[in-house]
Symmetry: C2
Subunit: 305 residues, 2 copies
């Protein structure tokens, strides 16, 4: 199976603690790296996980709060010091650009690579990036400033050839690509062997959704329906639901509610407040509503499957 | 003896490594904290050393390179989140203000405290801050951008009363402050007991000089003459002197040369390049020229004496 891993570099909330780093993740899809959020210390977390900076082409920022962006200047200038030449693309709400501009204009003179900023309309659910094998969708979230999550989805591949059927009918190798692309095969006697008999369906596509920071959003479940893995913030324990509402964050139970309503494969919770004394209890509280839940922690690598 | 400690929070150079954090120190003088440089991760280092943020009133920045300033936005906004109300003063070259402005205008709305920026003329050696018991001097350094070090010096206290002499002459308690301030005492018969006989000299003042980043500067020794502790960058081993010249950094031997010429009490070297494979060898190389040298390392606390 092709690589589709999530590296957790930081899963704390705004007030820094010695337990967690600020928000940052790296999605590794077939060896290409995509960063989501870039809190202070992102470059150190990156190095600690022995990820290769030259494979990082895109950074997706959820919103312009310090604990999600303060790692950008350091990361960008370090890549310059390391002699990077490939373009880097930063996607995020328009508000992020001011910090990026100061970083580039003041600290990155003479760098041999370019940074391109792509503003994202956080109110829309649409494709914000795609290549041959995957696409990234924005997920409108509800927070105190414009904010969106990101949905990473593999594109459907081609169907697989049923070698034994191909051999049995003596179909030449030259036709394999046509058949993969959807063609059927006609025997000399005019009998048509349908495409579906010659192939098995393509490998199921996998998907990962990152939803942080956000108040509880019942309508989010429809957008992340049946994703294999959902990372949803669970800043507060269930008993602090009023506080969660006030600061537009979610509780453990609310994260689990969205996961359950969306019928996701697995839930990973993070963005933990310092008010969470016992993270295992926080996990159990979440699992009461959605059993297949894990706690994010720095250094963790989760395989999307 | 009153507290005069240096906490090393980061002593690496610009390319981050897993061995060292970016430049940052905290000077603790009698319980008041002064930060010198504020590389990425400063706030975490601060918390890790269990220093109290409410005691931090001033930050002194040597120069506007990322590895000396990228911790400022995070530190400043965290203090806001923690409910700080006391003013914070940031001193440094004019160039630092742009980053500070973005941090304040974009990420610190609604904060209950004010940050004041005090530009420093890095070409001059002068007092840039003082209070009743200490003063901070700028130290012009030679780097690729305007850069200065900082000299922290205790002010001379008052002389100590020689209790046995005071008692022998029956001098009333009401006169103690006058005598401390320099007065002599006249006996009923007109004999003058000179001030010098009534007192012993004030406790010797202590001083600490921070010199990073800088090319070797023979003239620096005069400015840091006889400081108790000198922190001097030693980015490169002696064999990379040409590289040190090119990037306007110093080698182990050059740091030691300045320490020896200045007759300082102790030398602490830091700002280590990733090219230093063996830090103990780097230390020995420095000690060949200046014996009383220590290697900086994160978490270290050095007592100035």
């Amino acid at each position: 199976m092709e690589t589709f891993n999530i590296h957790i570099l930081g899963c704390g909330s705004a007030k820094p603690s010695l337990r967690h780093n600020a928000s940052c993740q790296v999605v590794d899809i077939r060896g290409k790296l995509y960063m989501i959020d870039c809190g202070e210390g992102a470059q150190v977390g990156f190095a600690r996980q022995r990820l290769n900076m030259t494979r990082l082409g895109h950074i997706f920022i959820s919103h312009n709060h310090g604990d999600h962006v303060f790692g950008l200047p350091g990361l960008i200038s370090t890549m310059g010091l390391l002699g990077r030449t490939a373009d880097l693309h930063v996607h995020g709400p328009q508000q992020v650009e001011a910090l990026l501009n100061v970083a580039l204009q003041t600290y990155c003179q003479g760098m041999e690579y370019e940074v391109h900023f792509h503003p994202i309309d956080t109110t829309r659910h649409q494709i914000v990036f795609e290549d041959r094998s995957m696409e990234v969708w924005s997920l409108p979230l509800k927070h105190r400033v414009p904010c969106c999550g990101y949905l990473f989805r593999e594109k459907a591949g081609l169907p697989h050839i049923r070698r034994e059927v191909i051999d049995a009918y003596g179909i030449p190798v030259s036709q394999i690509n046509n058949i993969k692309a959807g063609a059927s095969w006609t025997l000399p006697d005019g009998t048509i062997i349908p495409h579906e008999l010659l192939t098995t369906p393509p490998t199921a596509t996998r998907s990962y959704a990152y939803c942080s920071d956000t108040a509880y959003m019942p309508e989010l479940a429809a957008l992340v329906r049946k994703t294999n893995l959902l990372y949803h913030e669970a800043t507060y324990p269930a008993e602090l639901e009023l506080r969660a509402d006030e600061y537009m964050h979610s509780t453990s139970r609310q994260a689990a509610r969205t996961a359950a309503d969306a019928h996701v494969g697995q839930l990973c919770i993070g963005h933990f407040s310092g008010r969470i004394q016992d993270e295992e209890a926080h996990l159990r509280e979440t699992q009461e509503t959605f059993q297949n839940t894990v706690l994010a922690r720095e250094g963790m690598v989760i395989c999307v499957k």
